[in-house]
Structures are given as structure tokens and as C-alpha cells.
Assembly symmetry: D2
Homo-oligomer: 416 residues x 4
Amino acid sequence: MSLLADLLTTVFERRARIGPILRRDPRSTEALISDLMGARSETAALSLARRVLQRYVELDDAGKLAIFRHVAETYGLDAEALRSALDAFEAAPSGTTYRAFTHACEAPRQELMRRLNAVPGGTERLVQMRADLRRLGGDEAALQALDLDAKHLLRAWFNRGFLVLRPISWESPAHILEKIIEYEAVHAIHSWDDLRRRLKPADRRCFAFFHPAMPDEPLIFVEVALTKGIPGSIQKLLAEDRLPGGSGEADTAVFYSISNCQPGLAGISFGNSLIKQVVSDLAAELPGLKTFVTLSPIPGLTRWLKAEGRSFDPQDGKAMAALAAHYLLHAKRPDGQPVDPVARFHLGNGAMVQAVHAEADVSENGLRQSGGVMVNYLYDLNRVEKYHDRYADSFEVTAAQGVKSLANTREKVAAG
Amino acid sequence: MSLLADLLTTVFERRARIGPILRRDPRSTEALISDLMGARSETAALSLARRVLQRYVELDDAGKLAIFRHVAETYGLDAEALRSALDAFEAAPSGTTYRAFTHACEAPRQELMRRLNAVPGGTERLVQMRADLRRLGGDEAALQALDLDAKHLLRAWFNRGFLVLRPISWESPAHILEKIIEYEAVHAIHSWDDLRRRLKPADRRCFAFFHPAMPDEPLIFVEVALTKGIPGSIQKLLAEDRLPGGSGEADTAVFYSISNCQPGLAGISFGNSLIKQVVSDLAAELPGLKTFVTLSPIPGLTRWLKAEGRSFDPQDGKAMAALAAHYLLHAKRPDGQPVDPVARFHLGNGAMVQAVHAEADVSENGLRQSGGVMVNYLYDLNRVEKYHDRYADSFEVTAAQGVKSLANTREKVAAG
Amino acid sequence: MSLLADLLTTVFERRARIGPILRRDPRSTEALISDLMGARSETAALSLARRVLQRYVELDDAGKLAIFRHVAETYGLDAEALRSALDAFEAAPSGTTYRAFTHACEAPRQELMRRLNAVPGGTERLVQMRADLRRLGGDEAALQALDLDAKHLLRAWFNRGFLVLRPISWESPAHILEKIIEYEAVHAIHSWDDLRRRLKPADRRCFAFFHPAMPDEPLIFVEVALTKGIPGSIQKLLAEDRLPGGSGEADTAVFYSISNCQPGLAGISFGNSLIKQVVSDLAAELPGLKTFVTLSPIPGLTRWLKAEGRSFDPQDGKAMAALAAHYLLHAKRPDGQPVDPVARFHLGNGAMVQAVHAEADVSENGLRQSGGVMVNYLYDLNRVEKYHDRYADSFEVTAAQGVKSLANTREKVAAG
Amino acid sequence: MSLLADLLTTVFERRARIGPILRRDPRSTEALISDLMGARSETAALSLARRVLQRYVELDDAGKLAIFRHVAETYGLDAEALRSALDAFEAAPSGTTYRAFTHACEAPRQELMRRLNAVPGGTERLVQMRADLRRLGGDEAALQALDLDAKHLLRAWFNRGFLVLRPISWESPAHILEKIIEYEAVHAIHSWDDLRRRLKPADRRCFAFFHPAMPDEPLIFVEVALTKGIPGSIQKLLAEDRLPGGSGEADTAVFYSISNCQPGLAGISFGNSLIKQVVSDLAAELPGLKTFVTLSPIPGLTRWLKAEGRSFDPQDGKAMAALAAHYLLHAKRPDGQPVDPVARFHLGNGAMVQAVHAEADVSENGLRQSGGVMVNYLYDLNRVEKYHDRYADSFEVTAAQGVKSLANTREKVAAG
């Protein structure tokens, strides 16, 4: 086997090797953690880290929460020591004093997490632990600090340079595909047949980011349809009886679903990188593609309309579209950003609002959330940086003239 | 292709893609770095990071040193801001104040390095930059602090859980093998034929650690000979005209050369993990192996003898062996550890001094460094942790009775 | 990528490349074949072969049959030419006359098939064509001869030395797994969940033979359960709510389903090799396995009982088991071999009849075919060759004493 | 691992598994072969085939020749049986009589070879055996017939559809690269450094055909230089101190060395397919390439000049070039084909003579064989089929006007 292929195969095999279940250890979880923190040899540390990880998964939620609190309190920052170290460094800056300072700066629980991560498969477990922490932790200050430390390390380990973009296809391993079914968060995949329809036709693509230390777990994925022209209906795009086009004829790539897979990596954003790299890879592979666009939900629309006390009728597609355009362009949070979370994501990436379509998602969920309206955000690679900066400066929403007019209509209507 | 194999293939391809040389940018390196630190979009940051990395390799040593000083000073710690943040956190511990504190704790140059690392292939460049920094930096306090920050990040990125052990064989890619030739630091490999003799016979093995983000660069490797009994001469072990044994008949695995490959990863130790994992893998593959032992140089012997003013005669093998045993067991640094660096490494890993052999390395280098004497350190998996702890506690050197007697002889001789 | 991995990846890519659909060619299929046979350059031959393969798939059954007849008649053996060549060779044996003889010996349609096989993906198409031929050809002598020529070539191309045994697991590509679902011929797989239950648990295995030129098509596969002791009920073995054991505790490997996948490879037997290699691989991987046994249907039992005019009652398990034992040991075809096809297969491989179980397959199909009885054939690697030869000599059926007694009981009963 | 990658990995592993050396068998080689031919079970046949292959490699040349003669005579054609089978088939054509006929048609030694090929690694051994047979066999009629049978089977097994084109690069496994060094037949590779210069620069490429059953053995390879314009000197093309160009700037791909690797596959031509596929792959990868051309030796030139009694002076480049042009266009064998073997190969592939260069190969060998002259054969994909057919019809040599004029000059000179 090639060295390259081998590298990951090995990662994988090692991961599998964590498996063998260790005999019951009489020590409490807290004692195991304490012993792990005190372990001096790598061998001892690895063995204890495995025990801690194994013990953790046997805990119920109350037990997990107790451990989180224990770790947060026992292995937190020593502010006095830090102040002394900082003083010493300032008094006599040197390698030695800086080293002592950086050591004092760091809550010891970070070292705990590093030791857990040294176990093969440890990364995946830590991501799962942080997911638990966020689910259970609420707004306890100590647990928030613990979460920030975990995030700090995970951000280092999931550095963009380590991520790997992989196509997901009908030839991908089944155990990955079942996770695609499970993690799809926008337009549910109802069965393996449904999945095959999203992956197998020549005009469908899917891409995911992976990390070499978690090769069985997608981090985020995007589903793409290759079309002629920009589509305005998700049901038509995914219709079972549609005639699949060839990838060669397409001029447009439609990103119709983006799903984050790992709640344990919350706050470490992959979506921007994913879209940019998929756009760049597809453009290289299929030179006929000229337009890169989303077909996105408007999840906050009806909630906002109700909160604003505005009446609306999903049956009246024209009016709904005008309301949606108005909402996307003018409904703002106190900080000046759009109310709509999907809008914030794409506009923050440098996309613009290209078009708004009524009766575009007539599923129960689509009607309830957004009165059936959907929106295309356009990624124009030549302008994405300019729009990004403009948005970053002033939260200015760039939109096509048609959408602006539509929003305007609405205002007139509202004013009329 | 499989997902697993693909992951790394992609890493590799992306690495290759850094290649395209960017057009000359009129900005100074300092300005590019400043712009990179200020970049708000990922796209902009990636593009600037590529420019910085490309600019760096064009610099001569003076230019590199100037950049290191610039970064160390411009993007260093803000002690006042840190004190405020720490006070604020202590006054009102919360997620928000802790986040501000952790931010203040970190010199901005860490963010600079993270941004450089996001470029495909950036990891390898950063490792090279740190090698330059250590070569050029001397004992300047500011540069030592910069080095510590770099080491801090590299330690996170090269976490043990991310390393991959791979066999190196005559079927490995040539561009990896030429690096094995280049990096071999103990017993030089003189040609491709020489390399083939170290890799191809059934009784020879080689293993290296790799990191997925640097798949073309071994981090550390060990060469192994499978033998019957413990050998006492490196020249015999590597003789061109020896009759290679089958791997099946061997009862002993001899680690006769361990080489670190990356000066840019200095201080991040892989040797201990490497030996432990190779022992464990070999034991699983070849159940006939009962003994795991090194055949190691004693690089500090003659220097120490001279410094001590003791006379010695490399021709008198018996006396040299006794001197070597004495040196290994009793020559200590002020901190209590052995003077010999190789001894410190293996004893620190939990090995013991098993045997000392005169006329074991009659190469020019072997005679000059250690009067031709070599030593076997024994890795006994059942005791390695015990010996490690014993050494860690008191720097007590565990040795076989024969070596102790030999050292004793010497003392008597010396005393006589 | 590694050379090894690359080789097949390339095969795969080339296969995909056949895809591009050629523009409609005005020539008749017969004319295309004639041009292909006459093509002098490889380039021309490849292009024509692609056209012929593409044209073929567009034909309906009548069109296919017409082409088979055309080829059988037009490109058949020239007996006169063969006689002359044989005479000439005997008169003056030499390289030249032997070459002419071997040329005359071969019907030109073999060259036609070789030229079709040179197209990437051609092998898979030829296998499909032979499946069509066997389905449509009936007992027409000319088509049987054509089938024999096809089989002759396919046997050369599917030489045992070229086959590759691969584990099929829940991590295998979905497009392979959907073929496992489709081709399962013994105990139907009803859904992807059902498939997961057959592949994912630690005590389940599946293996298939593949050919490098058809990497997406399994040739034959076997499903294996790892158990403690020899099981006597397929429903218990496959129960949804069973507690999966670990592979480490098992002492028995049960081959409970073997399915041929390619009707176009009829008469080219893979089952014997498959079982032998799986036994050998499992024995190496899991030293705890001591017994290799099937849990097989007895598909001809009730049919034979009816033909013999014997009454039987599936409710009376004891009597059914005795009847089944009698049938397996004593019901023979005119040629002396057992009537039961599954018995012929396993006994011909050198297995013995180990045990007979009543109420072992209470599915509708199991009750109808065999009154719910199943049988274990035992593969004892130390005796498989001896039993094979004994069977090959005299069709003697080797059976365990218990089965013989059971069959005997039945005879007494029948006689009583 | 992926199924695809696995397939070949397995092939490879199985190949390695042949290794274990069997205990000495007391039977003679002839007896082992006889037992193999008589083996009824696959298990027995595989075991005997392994013994035969192992015994064979222990034989010296005399022993090998004796075995070849034994097999040729003992397992040859039974002409009488064939005549009867042919008569029976003609009297009553049916599947049964055709099957008997095809069986009778085939010398039993073919079955012998098939059984040897069923052993993992058998294919490579059979190729080696045929190389021995051709080396030792001379013009013995019986051995020529044996060789033809071997070639018949190898041609089936090495069908174009099973071959895999792989790039050979500096990242290829060393054990493959050392074979490239060994097999290079045109411009010797003197060292690993020399090899690196042929593989590593961006303007150098190498491609080889492999067969999945012999993944460690290239069948044929071609070395390619990417250049601006058509080169006229091999020494300049391979100069150590040349400045490597980027692949992107090149407009011409120069095939400057093609080497067959397997004498045991003599008469089974891969060169034509190799060149065509490399041209097609390079054209797809590098759209800037417009010209595909060889830089070829003229190995028969000086020999022919001497045989013709024509005087020539390698120092007089101009005259040599004219002589070479004349030779290529007009020196013919009795069958009408060019005398020059390299010319026959490329013209037979559909290439044309594009240019002739004096002082193009000033190596000792180049001067001796062809007075330093070299030739470019041009592969024009749009015309290659036309030229091929023209050559196949009448052996007409297509040449550029310049070459014709040059040849003409020479004639005038000769006539003058």
C-alpha cells in the first residue's frame, strides 16, 4: 500500500483498536483523572487516558455533569500563580520566565484534554464530550469556561489546514452514508432510496469535510444539484420522477442543503471554507458551470412576521415573496445584522441575495417557517471578497435589483 | 477510491497545489504580515498567508532573522491588557470574561502562526521556519519567547493521537527513501545499495512516524534488525556479506539506529512513543520475538574520559568496556542525570542497561566518540513502566548484574 | 497513491470512461461486427468494439437472439481448413504449421470476443451477453457451441489466480452493498437495516470474490456467522433481537448463505475456492475457531418425497429429520450422485454431512422446500481432500454417525 | 480500505504468500507434473502446482530444457482424437459434440499451464518460464509448438482490457524504480541520481503498463520529455545541467525511450497501445501539447550501409543525415517492410517520419549503430489511422517533405 493511503488506514485501524474493553477499575472517575494528571510516563498516561474515556461513556447525564463540574473546579486557572509568573516575566524577560508564564496561563484541564486526545480515537470522544457539555452545561460560568478551553484546543486540532474535502457518492462506504442520512438537517432524507437519488445521478454531488483523526465522521457536508438555470423550487429539484441531466450540460451549481454534523465543534466554523472549496473544485472540474448559487430556506420569516404583527397568507405567493424580500433586506437585529440566521451565514461569507421565490418549498416545514418562500444566495467568486468586506464593515446586504424592487413593492404595499 | 485513502491523497494533492508561484507583491514582508493579521475574510487570509509563506522562503538568513525579530516584538504579549482581563474575570467569572482572558493570554503571533498553518502545506513550512528560528535565534530572550509560542502550537498539532506509524520498506516511495538516507544520523547510509541492504532482507525493518499534514516528511524513524541473540557489533550486524536470516527464526529485535528528522520539532519528543509502538507491533506480528534491545552508541564517553583526565586505550577493549560501564552508571550531570545523552533518552523511556561491548563500533566515528564501545539498552515491556518511574523519581540507573560488575571492576582498577 | 491501489483505480476509471455515448452509426450491427473482425489497427478495432457493445445494449431480446445466431453461423469453425492445417502439421511439424493449426482450430467468433474484451468495461459486457445467450438460447446446437466458446474464454479470463477475495462489511461502498442485497439467493435480505444486521455485528462476516476487470461486480459471496457451537436454526441465527457475541468468543464459523452473482459465468465454479479461502483466512485471523460448517437448505427434499410417493408431515419434526437424513444419504441420480444439488456441491468440495435439524427453517420457503429441515455440512481442513477423493471416486457420501443412525431409523420405520 | 484498492492489495499479499518454501518432495519433477495433471480436487491441484513452480526455479538450464521437452512431448496434441471429435461434431453438431471437439483441439499442456496459473504469483512464474523457453528452445519444432501454446494463453491473460497504465514518478516504490533502471533498453540509466533526473523534473514523465496479477513487474514503459519545439539531440535533452522547464510551457511531448520489460511476453505487443494511451492522457492533462513525437535511434543504419558497401563518415553530419533518410524511406526487406526495426514499429503504429537529425546521439553506441543520426516519428492523432492503413496495405512509408528531399539529395549524390 502507498504511504499516503496507509497513513489514514493506520489512523483508522488504531481507532478500531481502542475497542478492547478494559477490566473494571475500582478507582472513582475523579481518582482516575487525578492519576492521569499525575502520570509521568507516556505509557502510564495512555493507559489511564483510555480508562477515563471508557469510564466516561458509561456515565449517565448526571454523572457526566458531575465530572464536568469536578474538572472545571479542580483543574481551573490559578490566578495568583499567573500574576506571579507574569510579574517575573516582565521583570526579567527570558525563555525561562516566558515558559513559566505560558504554563501558568493555561488551566490544567487543557493538559487533561491533551492527554485524552493522545489515545487513538480520543479526538472523536472529546468532540462527543464537548457536545455533552454544551447540552448539559447551561449557563454555569465554570462550565462555560471549561467549554471555552475545550473549544480552544479543538480549534487548534481542527485547523483549516488539516481538513480534507471528500466527495460523498453512492460509492462511499455505507457507514458514512448512514451518517449523511442522520445528519441531514435541511431537507430530510427519508430512506436509502431517497439517498441514492441525491447521490447517484450525474447531476448530483455531495461533499464533506473530514479530519484525519476522525475518518468515520463527516464534520459538515453540502448537497449540490447541477442545473440549467437557477431553480426556484426545492420540490421540483428533488422530484423523484425528474429526468436527470448530464453534468456536462449544466451551467449552474445549486447548494441546496448544508448540514453541520458535530455539535461538539460548535463555534468552529467550517461552512465558509466548505462552500469556497466546493465552488473552486467544481469550477475546475466542470468549466461549463458559470453560476454558483444556493437554494436556501428562510427559517425566521413567519416568526418575524408574527412578531411584527404583520398579516400574511401563504396562498398569496406574490405577496409572500415581497414580504420575504423585505425581511431579508430590512429585518435587522439590534447589532445591525439580519434577523435571519441563514442570511447572516451566507452574507457573512460574501454572497449576495440573488432572487426570492414563492411556492418554492411547499413541504409542511417550508410553509410553516417561511410561507413556502425560498431564496437564492449567489456566490460570485470575483466579488465575494468585496461583498464580504462590505458586509463586515456595515452589515450592508448586497442584493440583486429584482429583489430590491420586490422589497420596495412590499414597502409601498405596506405603506399604501 | 476509499474515503480513508482519499483523505490523505487529498491532503497530498492540496499540498502540491500550493506550488503555483504568486506574482511579485510590492508590499514589504512586514506589511504583508500586518495585512494578514488584519484580514477579516478567510479568503483574504488564505491568500495573504500564501504570500507571506512564499516571501519567507525567498529571504536570506539576515532577512529571516529580521522578520523573526519583527514578529516577536510587534505581535507579543500585552501584559497590561492581560492583567485587566484577569481582574475582570476574577471579579465576575463568566463565559464572557473568561473568553476575554484567554484571548489576552495569548501573544497575537500565535494567531499569525495559525493563519499560516491554514494554507495547504503550511504546517511543513512552519516546521521549517522554527528550524530556522532555532538555528539563527541564539539566546535572544524575545526570540526564545517566539520559539516557545511556536513550540506550543506545534505540540498541539503534533499531538500523539495524530501521528501515524508506517513501515518503511524497499517498496516505499523513492522520495521518502531519499529522505531516510538524508536524515540517518547514527550510522550513515552511503548509497541506494546500502539502503536496500537495510530495508529489503527479511530480517530488517524500519518504521517512521508521519503526520497527515506532512505526508512526505518522516518525523522520526528507527531501523531494526531481527537476530538470534543480542548482537555486540554494529559492523557485523550491517556486514554486506552476511547471510540474511528469515524473520521467523529471530528471537530478538535490535533497534540499532533512531533518527529525529525535523529540527523544527525540537523539544516535541516522539522517540519514546515510536519505540513503544514498534515493540508492540513487532511483538504482535512475530510472536517468536522475546527480546527488544538497542545497539547504541555512547557518544559522550571519550569526551568525558578526557575531561576527567582519565587515560584510556581503544586497543584495550576490556578496559574500555569497563570504563564505559562505569561512565554509564556513574557519570552524572549536576541535575543527577547521566552525562550520556543517549543513556538519558533510553533510561528515561524505562529501558535498562543490559550489556556493554568492546570493539563493537570500529568505524572512525565509533572509535573517536566511544573507543569502539557500544551498549544494549533493554526494553522489557513488563518492567518498562516500573523502571521509568524509578528513573523519574531519583535518576536511578537500572543495569544488568554483568554491567554493574564490569563498572565495579573498573572502579577497583581505578582504585587499585 | 500507491502503484497497487492505483492499478485498480485506473481499471475503474477506464471502465467509467466507456460511458460517453457514441453518435448513432448508420451501419447495421452485422456490418459493425464484420468491420470489427476486419479491422487492422488497434485504434480502429477499439472504436468498432465500443460501437458493437453500445449497439448490443440497445437491442431487444429478439434482436439479441438474431445477433447470436448471426455470430454463431458466420464466425463458426471451418472444418475443412482445420483438417488441412492438421494434416500439414502432422506432415511437417514446425512452429509455422502448428501456428496455422492452432489458428484453424479456433472459431473466429473467439477473436470477436477478444476484441470486445479489449474495450475498458468489455469484460462486464461480455459476461452480461453470455447471460443473455443462456437465457435466450435454449437448446439450439449452434448457440450451445457459441456458449461453449464464450465459456472457454471467460474461464481463461476468470482464472483462479486472478480472483480477489474481499471482505464485505458495513464499511463497503453502497453500490456494492446494493448488489449483495440484490444477489442474495438463499435467505433474502429485505432492507438496508436487514443488511446492516448481517454485516455490522462483530460476530458476522461476509466475503466475496471479485475480478480486477469488474471491480463493481461481486462474482460470488458467502455470509458467515461466528457462533459458540453448531447452530440448528436459521431463524435463531438471524433473529433481530439476538445478542451479538464478540468474534473472540466464537468456536464455530457457520456458512449460512452462498450466492452466485453472475449467470453469465455459469459453469465456471468459484464456490469451492471461496469456501476454502474463507476457511483458511478466518482460521488465521481467529485462532479460536475450531469448526467450519454450513447451515444449508435441502432444496430437493419435499419434491423428492412427493416423487417417491412418500407421505410426510412437516409438523412431525422428528420424522422429517429422519426422512431428510435418508434423502441426503441414499437418494441418488442415475449417475450415482445425490439428488440434492446443495449436497452435490458441498460433498464435491470434500465436506461431510455433520448433522440434520428439524424445524430449522420455518420460513414459508423453508417449509415448502424441505419441511423445515436444514443440514450442516462440515469442512474439516485435515480431511477435506480425502473426502473429496472418496466422493470423486465413487460418490460415497461421508456422514457423521448420528446422521447415519437417523437415516437408518427412517429405513426401519419405512420398512416397519 | 476501499474495495478497489483492496483488490490489488490482496493480489499483492497473496503473491507474497507463495513464499513459504515447501519441504523437499521426493517425487521427480515429471512425476509432480503428472500428479498435477491428474489432480481432481482444486486443493490438491493448487498444492501440486506450487510444488511444480518451486521445483522449476531450482533447476539449471539443462534441467529446464529437459522439462520443456518432456512437457512438449507428453502433453501434446492427440491428432487422431481430434479427427474423431471433429467428425463426430460434423456428423451431429450439438453442445456435447462441440465440447468434445474443443477439448480435443487443445494440447493438454494448456491445462497444465492453467493449473500453474491458478497459484497466486503463478502468472509471473509462467512469464519467466516462457522467457527461459525462448532463450533455450532454439528452433526445435516441438518447443516452438509449446511456445505457441504458452503465447496463446498469455495473450488471453494479458488482454488489452486487463492492462493498467500507471505513471512512474519519483514517488513510485523503489522496487519498481529499480526495475525501470534494469529494463531501460535504449538510453541506459546509470544511477539513482540519473533516474531522478528522468522522473522528478516537471518536464519529465514516464508511464508503464502493468497487469493486476503481476503488480510488481512493469510490462513496458515509455519515457517522455515535455519540450518547446521538436528536439534533435538526445544528449541535449538529457543534459544534467539543463534548466528544467515547467510542464505548462511545453508544446511537444517527446517519447525518447520505449522499453519492453518481459521477454516472456514476446510477440504480445503492448507498444502501440501504450503510445496511444499516453498521447491521449497527456493531451487531456496538458492542453498546451500540440505535437507528439519520438526521438528514436536508427539501430540498423550503419550495419545496412556496410552490407550495401556504401562508404560513410559519421563526422560528415550532413551526408549521414541524407543516408539515414534514404535508409528509412527506401531500405526494404524482401517482404516490402523497412529494414529498420524501430521504423517498422512506429510506421506500423501509424506514425510518419517527421525529421532526421545528424549528431543527435553522440554516445559510443549512437555513433556505432547509426553514425549519430536520430529520427523523429510523429504521431498525429487525426491521421494515425489513415497512415496505419496505408502502411498495412502496401508498406508505404509516410514522411515529411523535408525528409523526402533529404533522401532525394542523397540519391542524387549517390547517383552523381
